[in-house]
């Protein structure tokens, strides 16, 4: 058998195999497994509910979230908080605003913070990690040098506790919703970068890369059309999990006094942080936004964990 036919045979074998195990079918299979997972269904339902609330919430709100409609009543009460009643389902907050309306309006801001922050962390982190992984796989001294520089930078970011990193960013940018988004997003950069780089390095040693290389496929093509797409699944899982942490972290930043001060756009984290002052007198004011945050975070975490299981190659049948 000549070397030529040998090569063609292997090519045929490879293409045949790629029909059963291309990226697309991995995702199709993962999706099928996701649909049969109870965790994923619950998570997806919670997320769907949350997104729906974020979209229609502000229109559903019976009163203005900003106007201190019952201000006089609250001040007359002198420290006794007005609990749930027919016109105010969640009661009134310390300035006489309708807590239920604020909760509904707040959903949108909370979703916005989570999504924008995670998108930022994902994009920058994936770019850095992808650059590092690609440089290392393409090899050469320059590649290794690039990887070292990028990774040192990432290590530096990792050496700081996340909250501190966020606080430093917030100190420069001042107090606003954008600040919280950027601060929370920056914290996620090293996570995504390390994850993508690690996955790319692991994929780099696999058989299909060796096969492609043996067939003479250009290194650059291997990296971008084979290694990179195959390395994305852990990063996407992480993004789902990060949506949960982003919302929680945003709440922590608000508690530290770095959240959005604008009363017209309440956000669950800010609401939770502001209600801490009256926690012993009116714990329910903290419980509503906290429950919103916890349930949403649970939804994202459940879906993320289910995705991790569905995409885990070890568990594939």
């Amino acid at each position: 058998m000549s070397t030529k036919t040998d090569k063609i045979d292997r090519l045929a074998e490879l293409t045949a195999r790629s029909e059963t195990s291309t990226g697309a079918s991995l995702w199709v299979e993962a999706f099928r497994r996701l649909r049969s997972s109870k965790m994923a269904i619950i998570g997806a339902c919670v997320i769907a509910l949350f997104v729906a609330l974020a979209i229609v919430g502000p229109w559903l709100a019976p009163y203005s979230a900003e106007a201190q409609t019952w201000r006089n009543e609250v001040f007359r009460n002198q420290g006794i908080f007005v609990g749930p009643r027919a016109e105010n389902w969640f009661g009134l907050d310390h300035l006489g605003r309708d807590e239920f309306s604020r909760f509904l309006v707040g959903a949108r801001q909370t979703l916005l913070v989570g999504v924008v922050a995670t998108l930022l962390g994902f994009t920058v982190g994936a770019l850095l990690g992808g650059l590092s992984g690609a440089a290392l796989t393409l090899g050469g001294r320059v590649g290794r040098r690039i990887d070292t520089v990028v990774m040192r930078f990432i290590d530096m970011m990792l050496a700081l506790p996340s909250l501190l990193l966020a606080v430093s960013v917030a100190a420069v940018l001042g107090q606003s919703l954008t600040t919280v988004m950027i601060a929370v997003g920056v914290v996620q950069i090293p996570i995504f970068a390390r994850l993508l780089r690690g996955a790319m390095l692991a994929q780099g040693g696999s058989d299909y890369v060796l096969a492609a290389r043996a067939l003479g496929v250009r290194k650059r093509r291997i990296v971008f059309s084979q290694i990179l797409p195959n390395s994305l699944s852990p990063v996407i899982v992480q993004a789902t999990l990060c949506l949960a942490t982003a919302i929680i972290e945003a709440a922590a930043l608000s508690y530290l006094g770095l959240g959005n001060p604008d009363p017209a756009v309440p956000e669950w984290g800010v609401m939770l942080a502001q209600s801490q002052e009256f926690f012993d007198a009116a714990p329910m004011l903290a419980v509503y936004p906290a429950l919103g945050i916890i349930i949403t975070a649970l939804g994202f975490t459940l879906l993320g964990e289910a995705m991790r299981e569905a995409l885990d190659p070890k568990l594939r049948s």
């Binding site: 040192r152 930078f153 290590d155 530096m156 990792l158 050496a159 700081l160 506790p161 996340s162 909250l163 501190l164 606080v167 430093s168 100190a171 420069v172 001042g174 949960a244 929680i248 709440a251 922590a252 508690y255 530290l256 006094g257 770095l258 939770l272 801490q276 926690f279 012993d280 714990p283 903290a286 906290a290 945050i293 916890i294 975070a297 649970l298 975490t301 459940l302």
Partner: protein
Amino acid sequence: MLRLVIRRLLQLIPTLFGLSVLLFLWLNKLPGGPAAAMLGERATPEAKARVEAALGLDQPLWVQYGRFLGRLVKGDLGTSSQTGQPVLDELVLRFPATVELGLSAILIAIVVGIPLGYFAARRRGSWLDVTAVSGSLLGICIPVFFLAFLLRMVFSVHLGWFPAFGRQSTGINATEVTGFFVLDGILTGEFDAAWDAINHLVLPALALSSIPLAIIVRMTRASVLEVLGEDYVRTAESKGLSNSVVRVRHVLRNALLPVVTAIGLLTGGLLSGAVLTESVFSFGGIGSFLKTAIDARDYPVLVGFIMFIAMTYVVINLIVDLAYSVIDPRVRVH
């Protein structure tokens, strides 16, 4: 081993150097520059100019950076604008409280988390397993400071079981030796002081342990499940080894390796959590100090804190790596 320690400590230098550059740039980027940051927003231009000249802020950037770095190397982290004391002294004074809190939290997480994760894996699908898994999910998703407030309200305001704030009751007249109040009480034989300090630690440590506990339970469970399916466990069982030997020597020992790494990685999160928990309970550690520093825009404290923490973090990771090579002889330390 020694070579590893030296090499890792040398690796600290570029990291700290890079951090110092970033921090320096950060200080310069603060609204109004460092002088305004020190004097507050209402400073007159003359006062600003005077401070800038005194601090050498009218010099070129690289000269300023050189001075900044020189001070850092000498351990001079500046003066806190809140207390007027050197930042390093303030940090060192408060560090024991945070270490005490952090260690208690990790201790709770390990003592509860590893057995819980182990039994959840052994009885997969049982009510214990379901409780452990859902509990750990909840632990990750609940904001730490909210949990802290909740614990304080229930166990201290309503039930009165534990003190609501501080590290020590006012009536206690304890001798301070190390700054670790529990240890001090035991060392000096003042057991009532030690007991008092423990009582003050319970609630903050519980709140702080929520995330590490959740992570340890999940990691242990996943890791034990994986090891239980390994061939060497089946071999050990078929050899007729007693259950306890298989459990300890084959399952637990191998399953705990990733857990040890995870515990090392938890340190950063623990410090973030400490900032939140300490300020809820007015626990006098570096965490609550940082919270007040943020409120007061006390930038020298923030810079000092960041350098201090970065160093601590690297040292802790080094210790974890060393511990790892002791536990797992397969890990070759380079």
